[in-house]
C-alpha cells in the first residue's frame, strides 16, 4: 500500500465515520421529526377528538354503543361482530391510511397459555383494516425476551403475515421521547413513534392476571410501547400508567378475552391458569374496556387502583352503569 492509497482509505473512513456520527447527532437533536415531541403528543390527542366528533356528527338514528361485547365459539367472528357494532372498521380506518396494532406479546408462549393476544383475533383485525381501505397495517410489541422468538412462538407473526400485515421488530430508532404535560409521576418517556404517526392506532390486549396490577388489560398493555428500562415503571405504577394514557389514546381498543389467565400472570405458562370466556370487548376508551374486562374475573373497576385513578383524572368512564353496552352471543 503506498502513501496515496493510505490517504484515500483514511479519508474514506473519516467520511463514513463522520456521516455516522452526524446521523447520531441528528437523532439526538431530532432534526428529522419535523417538530418537538410535545407538539406531536398534542396533535395526537387532537386527531382523536376530531375522529370522535366526525363519528358522532354523522347523522345516525342510533349512536354506536360505548362498548361492544361479543361471545361465541369463533374468536374471529366475535371480533368482527364487535367492531361492526361500534360502527364498522370504516369508522376508525380511513382509506389509504396507515394502521398500527399493538397486541400483547410479552414473551413467547403458545396461544393456549393466554399469555399473548389470540393470533386469530389479531389476524381478523388486520384483515378488517385492509377491507376498510387501509394501505398498510403494522403490528408490533416490545417483548421482554428476544422479539423474533416471541413473535414466532406466540403465533402472531404467522397469523399477521397470512393476513397481509407486517410485523415490526422495534429498535432504538422506533422510539422518541414524548412529553407528558399532565403527568403526575411520569413526565416524559421514549415511546414508539408509530403509535402517533399512524392514522389509526389499535390497542389489542389480552385480559389476564398480573401480580402487581391485579389485572393487565388495555391500559397496562401500553407498557409495551415504552422504550428504555421499564423496570422502574413498577414504582408508582398506578399513577404512571394513567399518565401515559393521557397522551396515548388509541382510536380503537379491542380486549381479547377468548382465553384469559386467572393466576400467575402476566407470563403464566400453565394451562391450569387458563379460563375460556370466549369473549371479545371493543370500545374507544381504555378505562371503559378495562372496567368491563374486570368483571370477567369477578372484579370491578373499584378493585383496580389504576382504574380508580383513571376515573378520577377524567381519562375515561369506568362506571359500567353509565355506559351504553351492546352485548350479544354470536
Amino acid at each position: 500500500m503506498d502513501r496515496r492509497e493510505f490517504c484515500r482509505i483514511a479519508l474514506g473512513c473519516t467520511v463514513i465515520g463522520c456521516s455516522g456520527g452526524l446521523a447520531g447527532c441528528a437523532r439526538l437533536l431530532d432534526w428529522s421529526s419535523g417538530g418537538s415531541d410535545a407538539g406531536r403528543a398534542v396533535s395526537m390527542s387532537g386527531d382523536t377528538s376530531t375522529a370522535t366528533v366526525e363519528a358522532t356528527a354523522t347523522p345516525q338514528t342510533e349512536p354506536p354503543p360505548d362498548l361492544a361485547v361479543r361471545r361465541g365459539e369463533d374468536p374471529a367472528t366475535n371480533v368482527r361482530a364487535a367492531v361492526a357494532s361500534l360502527g364498522g372498521m370504516e369508522r376508525f380506518v380511513k382509506s389509504g391510511g396507515r394502521v398500527a396494532i399493538k397486541p400483547n406479546v410479552i414473551v413467547g408462549r403458545e396461544p393456549e397459555f393466554a399469555t399473548t393476544t389470540n393470533p386469530a383475533v389479531v389476524a381478523a383485525v388486520v384483515s378488517m383494516a385492509y377491507e376498510a381501505g387501509a394501505a398498510e397495517v403494522v403490528v408490533f410489541d416490545r417483548p421482554t425476551s428476544d422479539p423474533r422468538t416471541a413473535y414466532s412462538v406466540s403465533g402472531i407473526e404467522a397469523a399477521v403475515n397470512a393476513a397481509g400485515g407486517a410485523m415490526r421488530t422495534l429498535t432504538d430508532r422506533n422510539f422518541e421521547r414524548v412529553e407528558i404535560p399532565g403527568g403526575v409521576a411520569l413526565t416524559s418517556w421514549p415511546l414508539v413513534t408509530d403509535v402517533f404517526e399512524a392514522d389509526t392506532f389499535i390497542n389489542m390486549p389480552i385480559a389476564k392476571h398480573h401480580g402487581m396490577a391485579i389485572l393487565t388489560m388495555a391500559m397496562k398493555n401500553l407498557m409495551g410501547i415504552m422504550g428504555g428500562e421499564r423496570g422502574e415503571i413498577h414504582q408508582e405504577f398506578d399513577q404512571k400508567i394513567v399518565d401515559l394514557a393521557t397522551v396515548v389514546r388509541p382510536h380503537l381498543v379491542i380486549l381479547d378475552a377468548y382465553r384469559i389467565m386467572v393466576r400467575n400472570g402476566p407470563t403464566g405458562g400453565s394451562l391450569a391458569d387458563v379460563e375460556t370466556p370466549k369473549t371479545v370487548i371493543a370500545g374507544t376508551s381504555m378505562p371503559s374496556v378495562d372496567a368491563y374486562g374486570a368483571t370477567l374475573f369477578g372484579l370491578t373497576a373499584q378493585d383496580l387502583p389504576y382504574l380508580r385513578n383513571a376515573q378520577e383524572r377524567g381519562v375515561g368512564v369506568t362506571d359500567l352503569t353509565q355506559l351504553r353496552i351492546d352485548e350479544l352471543t354470536t
Binding site: G20, V107, E229, F237
Partner: protein
Amino acid sequence: MAARERKGLHRYRRWSQLAFLALFLGLLALTVWPLGNVFLGSFLVADPLVAINSLVNGVLRVEMWLALVVLVAPLFLGRAFCGYVCPMGTLIEWTSTAKRRIGLSESARDVWRRMPTIVLLFVAGLLLFGTGAYLVFDPLTTATRAATTLLFPAIDRTVRLAGDIAYLAPPLRGAVDSVTTALSGRIIYAEPRVYGLALLVLGMLALMLAASLVERRFWCRHLCPLGALFGLVGRGAIRGRVVDAEACISCGKCEQVCPLDAVRDGYRATDTSRCQMCMKCADVCPADAISTAARPRRSLYTPSRRAFLTAGGAGLLAGFFTFTGLSRRTPDRYLVRPPGARDESAFLALCTRCGQCMKVCPSNVLQPSLSKSGIEGLFTPELDYRVGSCDWNCAECGKVCPSSAIRPLELETKRKTVIGRAYIDTARCIPWTDYRTCLVCQELCPIPDKAIVLTEETVSRPEGEPITIKRPHVIEKRCIGCGVCETHCPVPREAAIRVRGRSG
C-alpha cells in the same frame, strides 16, 4: 520469464479457498434460532483435532467419519486442507502480502522447523490430563470464534448504522423498518450483539496474522496444532511432490515460493509433513522438473530423544497443574454453564472454545468466559445475565456443539434442566430494603408454577409507621437458573437477584 500456462487442479486453488470461506461464513450466518435440519457445524465436526479430543474423552458421533476422511487425506494430498479449505489458512494467506519480512536466521529456522512436533507433544500432554484448552489455538475454532465475536457483531452494527442514516429520510422509514424486521434475529438484533473478550479474540487473531511478518504463513508453518496433526499423517505420505533430479537445475525458485517451507535437501526432497500440494513450485520451475507422483522423496524432522522428552514433559506438567488447579475444585460461584453442559471437568475437556453456541443463542446471554474456571476455561461459554437470559423457547446451543460438551436437549427437557439457582439479595432488593413495590422478577419468571412467589408482609419502616408490602422469595425446588429475573431486575449495576452456579 513469461508466465507459463499452469496445468492441473491446483489452478483452482483460490476458487476453492473462496468457496470454502464463503461456505464457512454462510453456515455460521445461518446458525441462528430456530435451527432447521441442515447440519451447520460441518467444519468443526470435520476437524480431526476436535474429533480426537472428543474420542479421547469418550464421545463418539456418527458425523466424525468426516473427520476421519480429513485426517487420512494427507497420505495422498499432503496438507491440502491448509491450502484449499481452511478458512484460517485462507485468511492468513490472503493477508500475508508484506513485501519485506523480518526473516529467520539459518539456526532460528532450524529451531522453528521443529515446532510442529513440539506443539503436538504438548497437545498430547494436555490431552492426557483431560483439558481441551489447546483447542483455543485450533484454526477452525479460532475462525468460528472470531467470526462470532467480531465479524457478525460488526455486521450487526454496520447494518444498524446504515438503517439509522436511511431513517433520516422519512420516505425511507417504512423500507428500513421492513428490512430491520426481516433481518431481525438473523443478522441484526433488537439489542445489538455484544461479546466480552472481543479485544482478546481480536488480539489473538492479529498475532496469528502478524506472525506472517516474520515468514510467510508463519502460523500455518510452525504453530498451528491442526497443521501439525496433518503433518504427522503426512510423514507417511504415499503420494506427493516429486522432483525429476535429472532435469532440476538447482535454481532454488521452488524453495523461495513455497508457502509452507516444505522444500528440502537441495530442492530434490519434500517435507511431506508440510507440503500443502499447492504446486506453486511446479508453476515457477523453469525446468518443468516438478510434478506429483507416488512415493515422493521425503525429508522429515525427527525429534531427538531430548526434544521429545522436553516437549512432552512440558505438556504433561501444564496438564498436571491444570488438572490439579484450584479452579477445578471450586469454580467461580457465578459460573453458570449452558443447559445440557456436562459436569465441569468433562466440559473443560470437551469444549472446543469455538463459540458456536454463542452464535446461535438468541438472547446473547452466552458469553466467552475469561477466568471463572481458571485459565483453561478461557473462551468457554458461560451465561452472563447482565446481557440476557436463557430463553424459555430455545434449546439450540446443545444442537450446535461440535463435541457435545453441551448435550443436545429437547425443549421440554431443557425447561426442566437446572443450570443454577437465583438468590435474592435482600440488602438491595427494592421491596426488602426500600419498602417500595417491585415484582419484575416474579412477573417475568417463565416457570409455570413461578419459582418466585410474593408474600404480603406488614413491616415497620425505619421511619416508624408500618407498611404492607409484597416481597419476593425464590422457591428452590422450582428455580432452573434461567436468569430472566436477574436480567430484568431494575436495581442498577448489580441485580438484587443473582443466579449462582449449580454444584458438580
